[in-house]
């Protein structure tokens, strides 16, 4: 008999039924090889010695009672630091299919214990919200009988978009005749690999992405570009011809920019663009954060900081006093650094104030675009409350901004790019094209690329999502060589290529029935419908049911 007082029940005590994920283990299949315990990123699995009662069924014997046997089993730990995150690496390595995580169908209680050690909880990854308005958009203006539809397989389609300030036709002709400066533009694929920093991603992941992007451009003719995120770019890339596929990001910490500025004289080509990050959809008003354990020797060198220190970026640029002066100055200075030959554009969090930023940019002759990142965007590290509840959904934010430009007859002069939740449930081409028809000139995809190109295990059901801890079990967001060696850059590159080739096909499959092939259907809102009256009214598209 165990005395009640010795039952370990503190306020923070949890059983495995209280956790988000429950490890299901089949003793009869387990051969105790130990692979699951060694691969578990949270060290949540333990070998334990257990006693099992063996009932005596021999009724002829006089002695009654039970006998016990001792066995070795796998059990999950229940303290929060070592809770199961559902990544499923245990099942991936198990030779006998003896183990795997299952979502807790009951109420999990860990959220009530999120405040620990004088801090609120943080995570990496995503918002953990499976709902997606973009998934519900339908393309329903089908030109089948009113005019012959196009053939997605045989006809030519123009799928690219323009990144860069587009002048009004009158102004373009005027400057052309006087020989004045005409803002630089880039013709790019409208699905852009969004900003994920070289510190957040492992070197193998980054290399794989770049290899894939280069292949898309040079072999398949799909002009994909990728953004570095804050934290610079490896010097060999800066001085290579691959730089033209890279959007360099500058953010509030200016990490990595010493290296970039020093490399300018040796650059063989210009970068695709410069992105100035003022805000991020996943954590508006919060700066980036690279935890000390991700600051490896290489990262420290790139960022010009000591090894193994936390690298928080301030929430705002230190020079930011007002949008008129500092944003303009910053855009102008960065334009000047590359001789006004590289588009420079800001990235902001989705917000009800996005329109005021936009209207300011319209009057800034050097602003090349505006990227709006909605609440469903991902991040390497953020407080839960920022990720869950701070921000603005992208669809209506983008639409309002686009219609604002329409009213001024200036749509696409400042091209709008949208991000935040594109492909969150896997429907990347549909989501992206939906946003394009709502008025985006292109979309940025981050989480989707990690999931599709490198096998990121994270999902909107709070699976894994530990990018912030440097323990990424797939080696995608870790600077630990033991982990990132799991990821082969060639395999990532192959997946990147498959992804963009697939998106290209699906774009044609969407555009052909709509009778569009000559240009990207930016703002073709007559093609969109949604079975939600309120959303239809807000987005000014058709309500269908």
């Amino acid at each position: 008999m165990v005395s009640i007082r010795s039952i370990p029940s503190t306020p923070s005590s949890l059983t495995y039924h209280d956790l988000p994920w429950i490890v299901e283990h089949r003793e009869d299949r387990c051969q105790l090889c130990g692979r699951c315990t060694s691969v578990c990123p949270k060290e949540c699995l333990q070998l334990t010695y257990r006693r099992q009662r063996m009932p005596q069924l021999d009724i002829l014997k006089k002695r009654r009672g039970s006998e016990y046997k001792t066995f070795v089993g796998i059990r999950q730990r229940t303290d929060l630091d070592h809770r199961c995150i559902g990544c499923g690496m245990c099942s991936m390595v198990c030779p006998n299919e003896a183990i795997g995580p299952a979502p807790n169908a009951n109420d999990e209680r860990t959220r009530f214990h999120a405040y620990q050690k004088l801090d609120a909880s943080k995570r990496g990854g995503r918002r953990n919200d499976q709902s997606s308005l973009l998934d519900r958009l339908m393309f329903n203006r089908i030109s089948m009988l009113t005019d012959p539809a196009l053939d997605a397989g045989r006809h030519e389609f123009y799928l690219n978009t323009i990144l860069g300030r587009v002048l009004s036709p009158e102004e373009f002709l005027r400057r052309q005749s006087t020989g004045e400066w005409i803002p630089p533009t880039r013709e790019i694929f409208p699905f852009i690999i969004g900003s994920m920093s070289f510190g957040a991603l492992s070197p193998n992941m980054w290399l794989g992405l770049l290899q894939g992007v280069a292949y898309c451009n040079e072999v398949l003719g799909i002009p994909v570009v990728m953004c570095t995120g804050e934290g610079g770019c490896p010097p060999w890339v800066l001085k290579s011809k691959f730089l033209k596929y890279i959007i360099l990001q500058i953010a509030s910490g200016y990490f990595g920019w010493d290296e970039i500025i020093r490399a300018i004289p040796d650059m063989q080509c210009n970068p695709a663009a410069i992105e100035i990050k003022y805000g991020q959809g996943a954590k508006p008003g919060d700066g980036g954060l690279l935890m000390w354990f991700k600051v490896s020797k290489l990262i420290a060198r790139l960022r010009g900081v000591p090894e193994g220190v936390d690298l928080p970026s301030p929430p705002v640029h230190q020079t930011l006093y007002s949008i008129e002066e500092s944003v303009m100055k910053m855009i102008q200075s960065l334009s000047m650094a590359w001789g006004f030959e590289v588009p420079v554009y800001p990235k902001i969090s989705g917000s009800t104030s996005a329109k005021s930023v936009l209207n300011n940019l319209v009057r800034n002759p050097y602003a090349a675009a505006l990227l709006i990142d909605g609440i469903d965007g991902g991040t390497g590290a953020a407080y839960n409350v920022s990720m869950n509840a701070t921000g603005h959904p992208i669809a209506s934010n983008l639409r309002e901004c686009y219609l604002d430009l329409v009213a001024q007859g200036k749509q696409n002069e400042i091209p709008l790019f949208a991000a935040g939740g594109v492909g969150k449930n896997g429907n990347v081409a549909q989501n992206g094209m939906g946003l394009i028809m709502l008025g985006a000139s292109g979309v940025h995809i981050g989480k989707y690329i990690m999931q599709a190109a490198s096998g990121c295990l994270g999902s909107e059901r709070n699976r894994c999502n530990v990018c912030n801890l440097g323990i990424c079990p797939k080696g995608i967001t870790s600077q630990n060589p033991k982990l990132y060696r799991r990821l082969n850059p060639d395999d990532v590159a192959q997946r990147v290529v498959d992804v963009f080739a697939g998106i290209r096909i699906e774009m044609k499959k969407i555009m052909a029935p709509l009778g569009r092939s000559q240009s990207l259907p930016i703002g073709m809102s007559d093609a969109l419908g949604i079975a939600d009256k309120d959303a239809a009214e807000k987005l000014q598209i058709k309500y269908v049911c």
């Binding site: 005019d147 587009v166 002709l173 329409v406 569009r516 000559q518 930016i522 007559d526």
Partner: protein
């Protein structure tokens, strides 16, 4: 689907001959309407001076006709000629047609010192005001055009029946250009304003096929807040407005139209002698890129005619004829019916990169290719 027929000739001819061309192409349309635009007009009953504006339209009620008279008088226009059609209303489907009018006016004397641009603007503003007046009165007044030397007729019904209803075979109206289109825009609901050809400040186009990029283009043109860029009861109206924008607002040569609505691909522009300029033009005008299968035919105030295809040539068309007389039609049989006695070896079906331009002298037509150097000094 729509069928297009146009004839341009140095010697004025009856629009009825073009309607017969439409009849030859009858398998291709549903007979839902007719739009006619005559340019270089001659009236048998009146010696017309080609600088006087002609007001074209329909008064659906007697009251609207009186209102029209009052408005024109009030604004200082004096009526010089009121063409009386030999109308047989029993042949017209619609029952609310009080009077089809083609009226020649003298512009107000106050306009004497106006620049040509100002006069053009005033004529358009007056047309729009009359249109608005009709719309405000339960659509009892429809105004298609108010412009020198251009007469426009639009009606619901089978094209030849409409021609018979208006007695067009009597030869009392002749013109050097006749554009005809044989279908109401049934994509968007019957509306006389949705019927081709579309007209703005002397520039007219008609199209077959569907413009699938209509909404973004319409939004862009509307956003320019220029008074004439309105209406858009049809997705094809933007073709006329883009042509107007290219020629009158941007002051680019006619050849630029093709570069704006169907620009060349990037790889094609890379080897084009003016590729850099044309790429910039494509970027700046990318909101005006059309899409869908289209054949566009247009005419300009100087009686130049143009015909272009969409960039996949999904709607082919033919030009044929002889010096001084050319027929452009969406079907070969249309050309045959309009000018049967021609040298068929001169017939041409433009390719996706071609613009067919028939200059005012009509001696021969020009096949201009987008790959040719662009005639613009700025680009040099």
């Amino acid at each position: 689907m729509c069928r297009l027929a146009m004839k341009t000739a140095s010697k004025p001819f009856s629009p009825y001959s073009v309607l017969q061309g439409m009849e030859a192409m009858q398998e291709g349309y549903d007979g839902s309407g007719l739009g006619l635009l005559l340019r270089g007009v001659t009236f048998a009953d009146f010696k017309y001076k080609p600088t006087d504006p002609i007001l074209s339209g329909i008064a659906h009620t007697e009251a609207s006709l009186h209102r029209l008279n009052d408005i024109m008088q009030e604004k200082g226009f004096t009526l010089k000629y009121d063409h009386e059609f030999d109308t047989d209303l029993s042949l017209v489907e619609a029952k609310d047609r009080h009077k089809y009018f083609l009226r020649v006016y003298n512009v107000p004397s106050a306009w004497a010192g106006f620049s040509q641009e100002k006069i053009d603007q005033e004529l358009m503003i007056n047309r729009l005001a009359l249109r608005k007046n009709g719309e405000d009165h339960d659509n009892d007044l429809t105004v298609f055009g108010f412009w020198p030397d251009v007469a426009i007729i639009k009606e619901v019904g089978w094209p030849l029946s409409v021609g018979n209803a208006l007695g067009l075979q009597d030869g009392r109206i002749l013109s050097r250009i006749c554009m005809a289109q044989g279908r109401q825009n049934t994509n968007y609901g019957i509306n006389l304003y949705a019927c081709h050809p579309f007209f703005i400040q002397g520039i007219a186009t008609m199209t077959n096929g569907e413009n699938t990029a209509f909404i973004p283009i319409k939004e862009y043109l509307s956003g320019l807040h220029w008074p004439g860029y309105m209406g858009y009861q049809s997705d094809s109206e933007v073709f006329a407005h883009i042509l107007h924008y290219v020629i009158r607002q941007l002051k680019l040569p006619l050849e630029a139209y093709k570069h704006v609505i169907t620009p060349l691909k990037t790889e094609e522009l890379l080897s084009h002698p003016q590729g850099k300029f044309l790429r910039g033009l494509r970027d700046a005008c990318r909101r005006l890129i059309i899409d869908g299968p289209n054949c566009v035919m247009g005419t300009l105030p100087d009686e130049t005619a143009i015909m272009v295809m969409d960039s996949k040539k999904l709607r082919p068309a033919t030009i044929g004829g002889k010096p001084g007389e050319w027929a452009l039609a969406s079907e070969m049989c249309g050309v045959d019916a309009i000018i049967p006695d021609r040298d068929k070896s001169l017939d041409f079906q433009p390719m996706r990169e071609n613009s067919i331009i028939v200059p005012p002298d009509r001696k021969e037509y020009k096949i201009w290719s987008q790959f040719d150097p662009f005639p613009l000094h700025q680009a040099a």
